[in-house]
C-alpha cells in the first residue's frame, strides 16, 4: 500500500519538479527539454505502474494525509474506475512528451523552453489528481489546476490573435462548468456535512435532490466533456494548442468530464431512468452533430476537435444504456452499456491521440492545417501517413481495430434494450442504434475526406513539401497504432479487466457481472475470429495479386483524365467539394455559408467561391448572449476603477457584512 502511494507520489511530483527545475536553465534549451520530457516520461511510467496494479487489485488503494482539510480529509483513492482512466492518461502523457521533444523545436527566440513543459506536465499531473481525488475540495482544486494549465497550454502561440480568442473562450467555458461543479459539491456536501466522497456515497439523497444534483453535474461535467450544446470551446481550443497538448486535451481531458459524471453517479446512489434517457438524447445529438460539423471543416485539427464531440456522444450513448439497465434492472444492458462506454473512453484516447499527433506532424512539416492546401503527403511522409490511416480506420469504428469493439458493445447494449419489452427503453435504444449507424457512416465520409485530401493525390499547393517527421514524432504514432490494433484483436482476452469498474458503476455483485461477461464471451471471441478471418482473406488476396502480377507487364501512366493530359493539381476534388453533398443535405442543421462571385457578362473578369460551415450555436446563441452580458455588466465598470484603496474597501465591507450576518443568524 505504502509503496504504491510512494510510486504515485513520484508520478505526480517528478514531472512538475523537473520542469520547474528546468526554468532557470534558459541558456541550455536542450537541457530544459531533457528535464521536461524526462520528468514527464518518468512520471508516466511510475503512474502507469500504479494504475495497472490498481486495475488488477480488487480493493481500492487509498491514501489519507495525516493533516485535515476543511470539510473532510485530504484523501485520495485509486479504484479500478480511476485506474481505467489513468492508464490512457499516462500512456498519452508520456508519448506526448516524447513527441514534443521534436515538435516544440525550433524554440522561438527569447522564449524560455521550460515554460511549455511546465504547463504540459502540470496538466498531465493535475488530471491524475482529479481522477484519484476522494474529496470534493481536492477534486475541485485539481480540476481548477487542470483548467488553468490547459488554458496556459492553449495560449502557447499567444502572439496570434486566434490563439488568444480561443484561449479566452476556453477559459470562460471551463469556468462556467466549474461554477456548476462548485454548486454540485456545495449542495451535495450541505446535506452530508463533509465533502469526502466516502461520506457522500454513504448518504441517501432524496430522489428529487439526487436528480437535481445529476442535472447540475451533467452541465458542469458535460461542458468539460464537450456535449452539445456545451461543445463550442473544443473546436476553438484544440486547434490553437500545440498538437501534443491537443492530443492530451482531446484524448484525456474531455474524458475527465465523463469520469466526473460516472463518479457522481456512484456518489448519488440510486440512478433514475430519466438520467439514462437524457444521456442517450444528448449522446445522439452530440454524436450526429459532431460528425456533421466535422465534415464541414477545412482545418484538420478543428475537424478532429469536432470528432471528439462525436465520440463523447458515443460514450454518452453507452452510459445512457448502462443507466437504463441499472434503473430497470436489466443487468446485461447495464453491463454492455457501461463496458462499451468505458472501453470507448480508452479507445478514443488512443486513436484520437494518434490522429492529433499525426495532424501535428503534418502541421509541423507543412506549416498549415488547411486540408484544402495539402495533398500527396503520403510520398513525403509515408510513416506519418500510415499512422494517420490506422487512426482514421480506428475512429470510424472499423474492424479489426479498437474502435469497432467499443462501438460493438454500445450497439449490443442498445440491441438488448430493443428486445427488453419496455416502451421507453425500446424507443431510446432504437434511437441509439440509428444514430450510431448514421455516425458510423458519416465518420467514414469524414475520414476518407481527411486522409484522402491530406495524404493522397497530388499536392494542392507548395505547402505540401517537406520531408518525414523525425523518430521522436513517429515512434509515439506507432505505439498508439499498436494499441489500437491490440485492443481490436485481443479485447476478448482483456474484457475481465472491465468487470471491476462495471461493478463499481452498477453496484452489482462481482459474480453477476462475471456471469454476464461469460454469456457475452462468444460474441467477443466471434468478432476476434471474424477480424482474423478478414485479415487472412485480405492476405490471401494480396498474395494472389502478387502472384498474378509476377512476370507480367506492370505499366505506369498518368491518371485517366478524360483526354485532358495536363491536369493541374487544382482540378482535384477538395475536402469541401467531397463533403458538399452531405453538407447540402443537412443544410438546415448546419447552415453552411457560401460567398460566391459568379462569372458575369461576356468577358467575365474575376470569380471566386468560398464556403464554410459555421458553428450555429456559437454564432447565434453564445456570442449574442455574451455580448449582451458584456453590455449589461459594463454598467458596473465604475466599481472596478483600478484604485487599490477602493478594492480594500470592498473587502472590508464584505467582511463586516459577513460578521454581521454571523451575529444576526448565528449557527
Amino acid at each position: 500500500m505504502d509503496t504504491t502511494a510512494a510510486i504515485f507520489a513520484v508520478a505526480v511530483l517528478v514531472p512538475v519538479a523537473a520542469s520547474l527545475a528546468a526554468i532557470p536553465l534558459k541558456p541550455w534549451p536542450r537541457l530544459q527539454t531533457a528535464f521536461g520530457a524526462g520528468g514527464a516520461i518518468t512520471g508516466a511510467v511510475a503512474g502507469l505502474y500504479c494504475a495497472v496494479q490498481a486495475l488488477l487489485s480488487p480493493a481500492p488503494a487509498t491514501w489519507n494525509a495525516p493533516w485535515s482539510m476543511p470539510l473532510g480529509s485530504l484523501s485520495m483513492s485509486m479504484d479500478a474506475l480511476s485506474a481505467l482512466f489513468l492508464i490512457p492518461l499516462f500512456v498519452l502523457f508520456g508519448l506526448g512528451a516524447l513527441y514534443a521533444v521534436e515538435y516544440l523545436r525550433p524554440i522561438p527566440q527569447g522564449r524560455n523552453a521550460a515554460i511549455p513543459w511546465f504547463y504540459y506536465n502540470t496538466l498531465g499531473v493535475s488530471m491524475a489528481l482529479v481522477v484519484v481525488a476522494a474529496n470534493g475540495l481536492l477534486f475541485l482544486v485539481s480540476w481548477e489546476i487542470m483548467s488553468l494549465s490547459s488554458f496556459a497550454c492553449v495560449l502557447h502561440d499567444h502572439e496570434k490573435e486566434g490563439s488568444r480568442e480561443a484561449a479566452w473562450i476556453y477559459l470562460i467555458a471551463t469556468h462556467i462548468g466549474a461554477a456548476f461543479l462548485l454548486i454540485f459539491f456545495l449542495v451535495a456536501g450541505a446535506g452530508v456535512g463533509s465533502l469526502d466522497f466516502s461520506s457522500i456515497a454513504r448518504h441517501t439523497f432524496s430522489p428529487a435532490l439526487s436528480g437535481l444534483l445529476f442535472a447540475i453535474g451533467l452541465v458542469g461535467f458535460g461542458s468539460k466533456a464537450g456535449f452539445v450544446p456545451f461543445h463550442v470551446w473544443l473546436p476553438k481550443a484544440h486547434p490553437a494548442a500545440p498538437s501534443h497538448v491537443s492530443a492530451l486535451m482531446s484524448g484525456i481531458m474531455i474524458k475527465m468530464g465523463i469520469y466526473g459524471i460516472l463518479r457522481s453517479m456512484t456518489l448519488l446512489g440510486h440512478v433514475q431512468a430519466w438520467w439514462g434517457f437524457s444521456l442517450i438524447a444528448i449522446g445522439s445529438v452530440s454524436g450526429v452533430l459532431g460528425v456533421l460539423l466535422a465534415l464541414g471543416q477545412h482545418d484538420l485539427k478543428r475537424l478532429l476537435a469536432y470528432h471528439s464531440v462525436e465520440n463523447v456522444g458515443i460514450i454518452a450513448l453507452g452510459l445512457g444504456a448502462g443507466v437504463l439497465g441499472v434503473s430497470y434492472g436489466i443487468p446485461q444492458l447495464a453491463f454492455l452499456g457501461f463496458c462499451g462506454a468505458l472501453l470507448h473512453v480508452v479507445n478514443h484516447a488512443f486513436f484520437k491521440g494518434l490522429l492529433f499527433l499525426g495532424a501535428g506532424s503534418v502541421i509541423h512539416a507543412t506549416g498549415t492545417a488547411d486540408i484544402d492546401a495539402l495533398g500527396g503527403l503520403i510520398r513525403k511522409m509515408p510513416l506519418t501517413a500510415a499512422g494517420f490511416l490506422v487512426g482514421s480506420v480506428a475512429i470510424c469504428g472499423l474492424p479489426p481495430l479498437n474502435g469497432f469493439v467499443s462501438e460493438f458493445l454500445v450497439y449490443a447494449a442498445a440491441i438488448k434494450g430493443i428486445g427488453a419489452h419496455n416502451g421507453p427503453v425500446f424507443a431510446m435504444c432504437a434511437l441509439s442504434v440509428a444514430s450510431l449507424a448514421l455516425i458510423g457512416g458519416l465518420a467514414v465520409a469524414c475520414f476518407t475526406k481527411a486522409f484522402g485530401t491530406v495524404f493522397l493525390g497530388e499536392p494542392r499547393t507548395a505547402a505540401a513539401a517537406h520531408g518525414e517527421a523525425g523518430p521522436y514524432m513517429v515512434i509515439p504514432l506507432f505505439v498508439l497504432a499498436a494499441f489500437c490494433g491490440i485492443i481490436g484483436l485481443a479485447f476478448w482476452k482483456l474484457v475481465p479487466v472491465f468487470a471491476q469498474p462495471v461493478c463499481i458503476l452498477t453496484s452489482l455483485p462481482k459474480a453477476d457481472v462475471v456471469s454476464e461477461l461469460s454469456t457475452f464471451a462468444p460474441s467477443l471471441s466471434g468478432i476476434a475470429i471474424g477480424c482474423v478471418l478478414f485479415l487472412a482473406c485480405t492476405g490471401a488476396v494480396y498474395l494472389l495479386r502478387n502472384r498474378l502480377l509476377n512476370k507480367r507487364t506492370v505499366g505506369a501512366s498518368p491518371t485517366w483524365d478524360c483526354g485532358y493530359t495536363v491536369p493541374g493539381p487544382r482540378i482535384q476534388y477538395t475536402a469541401s467539394s467531397f463533403a458538399q453533398p452531405i453538407v447540402l443535405f443537412f443544410r438546415h442543421v448546419l447552415g453552411p455559408v457560401q460567398t460566391k462571385h459568379m462569372p458575369a457578362s461576356t468577358f467575365p473578369k474575376g470569380w471566386s467561391f468560398h464556403s464554410h460551415v459555421p458553428d450555429l450555436l456559437l454564432d447565434n446563441v453564445y456570442t449574442p448572449m455574451f455580448r449582451l452580458a458584456g453590455g449589461t455588466l459594463s454598467k458596473l465598470r465604475w466599481l472596478q476603477g483600478g484604485r487599490t484603496q477602493a478594492y480594500v474597501l470592498y473587502i472590508t465591507i464584505t467582511l463586516i457584512a459577513l460578521l454581521l450576518w454571523n451575529f444576526v443568524w448565528p449557527r
Binding site: R379, L389, V393, C396, G397, L398, P399, F404, A412, I415, I418, H421, A430, V433, A434, S435, A437, L438, G441, V444, A445, T448, K449, F451, G452, L456, G457, P522, S523, S525, G526, G530, L533, F534, L535, C537, T538, A540, V541, Y542, R545, L548, L549, R552, T553, V554, G555, A556, S557, P558, T559, P567, Q572, Y573, S577, A579, Q580, P581, I582, F585
Partner: protein
C-alpha cells in the same frame, strides 16, 4: 454455440461460385426487355478470368493505398461471405452480433475503395467517392433497423435469425422491411434507380467512376467483389420475402436458389423499366426506405396493429 463451424463451408462456397451468375441473370433480363439477345449467362465469369490474366497499369500519382484498395475490399467481402448463411445451410462464423461485423466489414471495403479512388487525384473519382460515402451513410442506419426488424424479438442479433435456420416469419415486418431492403440492395450495389452501371458518362456515375483507374487483376477483384456483395444482399432480401422452413435442407436450399434467380430477374426488370433518379432525389428514396424500416421495427414490437 461455437462461433466457427467449418461444416457450413457450403454457404460461402455457393456465394463464391454463383455470385457472378446473378449479374448474368440481370443482364439477360435487361436484354430480354431491350429485345436483344444479350451476353451469355456466364459472361461475368469470362470477364473476371480475362482480367485476371492481364497485367496492370498504375497511375503515377498513386501510392500503395491505391494498390491496397481492391485487395482489402475483396478481403472484407470474402469475410462477409463467411458470415452469411445460405438458407438452412449455416454460416461459417455465427455469433450474436455478427450482423454488426458484416455491416462494418462492408464499411471497411467502402473505406478502402474510396481512399483508393482519392489516391488517383482524379476529380471524377473524387466525385464518385463523395457520392458513395454520402449515400451509404444514409443507407447504414436503414439497413441495421431493417435487420433488427427481421431478427426475432429478444434473440441473438445474428444472420442465423434473419436469413438462416432461426428466422421467424411475421408478415407485416417482413414485408415492410423487405421493401426497404430492396431499396438498400439497389443503392448499395450501384444499381438503378440510384446508380446506372451501364452509363457512359462519368459525371453521372457513382461506383463505376470510383474504379476508373483500376486495371487487370485489381479490377477483376473489384468486379468479383461487387458481384459477391450483390449476392449477399440478395440472400437477405430473399429470406425477407421467402421464409421457407422446409424440413429438408435440400428443398430449402433449392427454394433459396430459386429466390436468388427471382432477385436477378426483379433487379433486371427494375433496371429496364425505371430511369436513374437525379442524384438530389436519391436521399429522398433512402428516407422513404428509412420510414419503411422504422414501421417494420415498430410492427415487430407489436406497436402496430
Amino acid at each position: 454455440m461455437a462461433p466457427l463451424s467449418f461444416s457450413c463451408a457450403l454457404s460461402p462456397a455457393l456465394a463464391l461460385a454463383c455470385a457472378p451468375l446473378l449479374t448474368g441473370i440481370i443482364a439477360k433480363t435487361k436484354a430480354f426487355f431491350a429485345g436483344r439477345k444479350g451476353p451469355p449467362l456466364l459472361q461475368a465469369y469470362s470477364d473476371i478470368l480475362k482480367l485476371l490474366r492481364k497485367g496492370a497499369v498504375y497511375s503515377t500519382t498513386t501510392s500503395w493505398v491505391f494498390r491496397a484498395g481492391p485487395v482489402v475490399s475483396l478481403g472484407a467481402l470474402l469475410a462477409c461471405c463467411l458470415l452469411m448463411p445460405f438458407g438452412s445451410l449455416g454460416a461459417v462464423l455465427s455469433f450474436s452480433g455478427d450482423i454488426l461485423l458484416f455491416v462494418y466489414l462492408l464499411a471497411v471495403a467502402r473505406f478502402f475503395t474510396v481512399i483508393a479512388a482519392l489516391d488517383t487525384g482524379s476529380p471524377f473519382e473524387g466525385m464518385g467517392a463523395s457520392r458513395e460515402v454520402f449515400f451509404s451513410a444514409l443507407v447504414e442506419p436503414v439497413f441495421l433497423v431493417c435487420l433488427l426488424a427481421l431478427s426475432g424479438p429478444a434473440q441473438a442479433f445474428s444472420f442465423q435469425n434473419v436469413v438462416g435456420k432461426g428466422a421467424q416469419f411475421s408478415l407485416v415486418p417482413a414485408v415492410l422491411a423487405g421493401f426497404a431492403l430492396v431499396v438498400i440492395m439497389l443503392a448499395e450495389n450501384a444499381r438503378l434507380p440510384v446508380d446506372d452501371p451501364a452509363t457512359h458518362l462519368e459525371l453521372t456515375m457513382i461506383h463505376e467512376v470510383m474504379v476508373l483507374d483500376h486495371s487487370g487483376p485489381d479490377f477483376a477483384f473489384i468486379t468479383y467483389g461487387a458481384s459477391l456483395k450483390l449476392w449477399l444482399f440478395g440472400l437477405i432480401v430473399v429470406r425477407a420475402f421467402l421464409p421457407i422452413h422446409a424440413a429438408s435442407v435440400w428443398i430449402d436450399s433449392l427454394c433459396t436458389g430459386a429466390g436468388m434467380v427471382v432477385i436477378g430477374i426483379v433487379v433486371g426488370t427494375i433496371e429496364s423499366v425505371t430511369a436513374r433518379l437525379r442524384l438530389l432525389r436519391v436521399p429522398q428514396l433512402l428516407t422513404g426506405a428509412a420510414a419503411l424500416a422504422l414501421l417494420a421495427l415498430l410492427a415487430q414490437q407489436g406497436a402496430l396493429p
